[in-house]
């Protein structure tokens, strides 16, 4: 009996060791280029390790049973008539429930840190005649915050392009330029069908919905050029609907901005 338990403990520690090793050494994700990315990757790592433990454990159990309990030649009769084991079944109901609950709470915490839980202040734009409803995207900010210091950009999506409007400079660009380490607020609206704004290196995605503007905020942390990908089937050229986001130093950004901005027109 003692022997058996030792084997069990050995196998379990082996499964844990291997899962942790893979979890920490195998990187499946692209570069981290926004504040959200490292937070996301933390959650990913935890889920990856728990998943590996369960998957490797179950696979070993199935393959072991097939080998160990296979019917040898000439063997007759049945296995033991074991129909259930209440305490075992309670254990494997309670343990997964706890794990699931902990994962849920943890990902709630991650979501909160990403800014997903902030309530949106709906009644801004009191001046504008139609009080439109803005739908919640991830990392929202309250309207006051936007007003204070964010770089705000208006995104419009159409078959099959993204256009970025810089209201302060009064110009439209096909490429998204943003300064590094500064919070960007985007208000996104579609001209035709549903599109989605996805930057894999930022770990953010938000649908762009016709008739219902959505908001997306992010803070890039690494200078570079990253793809913007449309992730919602939007027609034949959906696969070609891409743009780039260029994250640059503040000075480079200002240079670009000043080159493009149009003077205010006074009528």
């Amino acid at each position: 009996m003692l022997n058996k338990n030792i084997y069990l403990i050995l196998i379990i520690s082996f499964v844990f060791a291997i899962s942790f090793w893979i979890g920490f050494n195998v990187n499946l994700l692209p570069a981290e280029a926004s504040i959200n990315a490292p937070i996301y990757d933390e959650l990913f790592k935890i889920l990856f390790i728990i998943g590996l433990i369960i998957f490797i454990g179950m696979t070993i159990a199935v393959i072991y049973s097939l080998f160990k309990f296979r019917k040898r030649n000439n063997q007759i009769g049945d296995g033991i008539a074991l129909e259930g084991n209440l305490s075992l079944e309670i254990v494997w109901t309670i343990i997964p429930s706890i794990i699931v609950l902990l994962i849920g709470l943890y990902s709630y915490n991650i979501y909160d840190r990403m800014g997903g839980m902030k309530e949106l202040n709906h009644n801004h734009d009191m001046m504008s005649s139609n009080s439109e409803k803005i739908w919640a995207g991830i990392s929202q900010t309250s309207d006051n915050e936007i007003a204070i210091n964010n770089l705000s950009i208006e995104v419009s999506a159409m078959q099959f392009a993204f256009l970025f409007n810089y209201p302060k400079g009064n110009f439209i660009s096909g490429e998204l330029h943003v300064p590094v380490d500064q919070k960007v607020s985007m208000k996104m609206e579609s001209k035709d069908v549903i599109h989605a704004f996805w930057v894999p290196e930022f770990r953010i995605k938000q649908d762009i919905i016709p008739g219902q503007p959505t908001i997306l905020n992010f803070t890039p942390t690494k200078v570079g050029k990253y793809p913007i990908i449309c992730a919602e089937l939007c027609g034949p050229y959906h696969g070609g609907m891409r743009a780039s986001i260029i994250v640059e130093e503040e000075s480079d950004y200002n240079e670009w901005f000043n080159k493009n901005k149009k003077p205010e027109v006074n009528l």
Partner: protein, 541 residues
């Protein structure tokens, strides 16, 4: 001719064609209808599989060079629609349900044999109509989800045929669902208690409840969508003030439960197969029943996890995260119980058990990525990418299709009286298992690293991994060859099976193979312990 309601009389043998011609007639025999579902579904599976191969050929290179882009979207839409509505749902419900449920409850036929036949005969014409729409101008190309406004603005004739066809198929599954509920509740042989039913009955009861509760919502939604297309109404059309997210809520209220409509019957089938070949009782019968009902209830309240990026409010995202993740608990219980059923058995290693064990391994993998996807922050990055494609194929192919094959190996001797060839069967399993994992495992990486789904062209950096995936798809296509050869050879020249080649205890094995028209020569046997392996009641026989 007078119409008789009594199934005994309408099944009058002299009125029915004999031999294989029976299968081409409006038969009322549940066994014939079951086989009709299976064969019809398999033919559509071959079409859907051919389309899948076409998709994978296109994706072997980063440019869109194998077919025009809009044709790619049509092929993709047809592949998804066929696989769900014409292969998996009709086969795991209609085919096995019709064949097995009357045996399991000790009845001579389903509760409403005519309705049953009608439910089946809706499928071939609507399926053919759907396939035919791909030869007219502008076939449906908005994906199997048909999200507006895309489905309203793409060419319309094909989209309308698509809607009509899905409505008819939905009608067919509602008829089937009503029939299963009535048969299981009302036609049970006197003396047979609910808690003595084989597990597949419970699975079909749960599934049929889901079908009856959620399919009408899909029907209503699609009818509204067709109004938007034909009559210019504005339910979902934003130009006319419609709301596109409402469509998504309604659509997923059906289509999330639809996943369980595909996997719950598979759970039931594997619960029948494992005990027989492991020679042990099904472990934890009662918890198995409760976990099915738990899945049914939870399955109805988690639809919005498909919409985490659609602008849903934060509280809603949270609720749906927790509810979704909790489905892992009843599902996990079932998997532990199956492994415990194997544990300590005397397992015959054959094609049926290998496909079942392959199912357990693949489904656990798909289930784990499912729990990850339920977490809002996780889902936001991978939603609508190849990660999701990989996840759901692990469920629908690695889970359900594996079980369909396992079931065919298990029940073929009952249906035909002949055995299938085990060597070919095991070859079939090995190629399928390798091909499947080669095809879909790498797609997780693709999605995480930036490849969206439903695209005909992609970033060249993903080419190598896509080629591995296409190679896996090729292997899966090849794997159907030994299977088809096996079935054709065995039907004609297979070894005689005898009535009960596996020494199984469930009622369908207690009659001749193939069974007589009314299932049993005499009275239906009362099987009190369908899983009594290793027990005295069984030893005495």
């Amino acid at each position: 001719m007078t119409i008789s309601i009594d199934p005994q009389k309408t099944n009058n043998e002299s009125l029915q064609p004999k031999g294989w011609l029976r299968y081409f007639s409006f038969s009322l025999d549940h066994k014939v209808i079951g086989i009709q579902y299976l064969v019809c579904g398999f033919l559509f599976y071959l079409i859907g599989g051919t389309l899948a191969s076409a998709i994978r050929i296109e994706l072997a290179s980063p440019m869109s060079d194998f077919m025009p882009r809009d044709v790619y979207n049509q092929v993709l839409t047809l592949h998804g629609t066929i696989m769900i509505f014409l292969w998996i749902v009709p086969v795991v419900n209609g085919a096995f349900g019709n064949y097995l449920i009357p045996f399991y409850v000790g009845a001579r036929d389903m509760a409403f044999p005519r309705l049953n036949a009608v439910a089946f005969w809706l499928i071939p014409p609507s399926g053919l109509m759907l396939v035919a729409s791909y030869f007219v101008e502008g076939a449906a190309q908005a994906g199997w989800t048909a999200y507006p406004p895309l489905s309203i603005t793409t060419p319309q004739s094909g989209q309308i045929i698509w809607i009509l066809s899905v409505l008819l198929l939905g009608g067919s599954s509602i008829f089937g669902g009503i029939n299963f509920i009535a048969t299981i509740i009302k036609l049970r042989r006197p003396g047979l208690k609910l808690m003595q039913l084989p597990m597949y009955c419970w699975a079909m009861l749960g599934t049929s409840l889901l079908v009856v509760l959620s399919t009408p919502v899909l029907a209503g939604t699609l009818i509204l969508l067709s109004f938007d297309i034909i009559a210019n109404t504005g339910f979902f059309n934003p130009v006319l003030g419609g709301n596109v997210v409402v469509y998504q809520h309604l659509f997923w209220f059906y289509s999330h439960p639809a996943v369980y409509i595909m996997v719950l019957p598979a759970f039931g089938l594997v619960s029948e197969i494992l005990p027989v070949h492991a020679r042990k009782p099904l472990f934890g019968y009662t918890t198995m029943v409760f976990s099915i009902m738990g899945i049914v209830v939870l399955g109805l309240v988690v639809w919005a996890h498909h919409m985490f990026t659609s602008g849903t409010p934060p509280w809603m995202r949270l609720f749906f995260t927790i509810a979704t993740a909790f489905i892992a608990v009843p599902t996990g219980i079932k998997f532990f119980n199956w492994v415990a059923t194997l544990w300590g058995g005397k397992i015959s290693i054959n094609s049926a058990i290998l496909f079942s064990c392959g199912f357990i391994i693949n489904f656990v993998f798909g289930g784990i990525t499912g729990v990850a996807l339920a977490q809002v922050p996780f889902d936001i990055h991978v939603h609508d990418t190849y990660f999701v494609v990989a996840h759901f194929h692990y469920i629908v192919y690695g889970g359900t299709v594996f079980i369909i094959f396992s079931s065919i190996y298990h029940w073929f001797p009952k249906v035909t009286g002949k055995m299938l060839n085990e060597k070919l069967g095991i070859l079939h399993f090995i190629i399928t298992f390798i091909g499947f994992n080669l095809c879909f495992a790498p797609q997780h990486w693709l999605g995480l690293n930036g490849m969206p789904r439903r695209v005909a062209e992609y970033d060249p950096q993903f080419q190598f991994v896509n080629q591995i995936s296409s190679l896996g798809a090729l292997l899966m296509a090849i794997s159907t060859i030994p299977f088809l050869i096996n079935v054709i050879i065995s039907v004609r020249n297979g070894k005689d099976a005898g009535d009960n080649p596996w020494n199984a205890l469930t009622p369908e094995w207690l009659t001749s193979s193939p069974p007589p028209v009314e299932n049993w020569e005499g009275e239906a046997p009362l099987v009190e312990e369908p899983y009594g392996y290793g027990k005295e009641i069984y030893e005495q026989k």
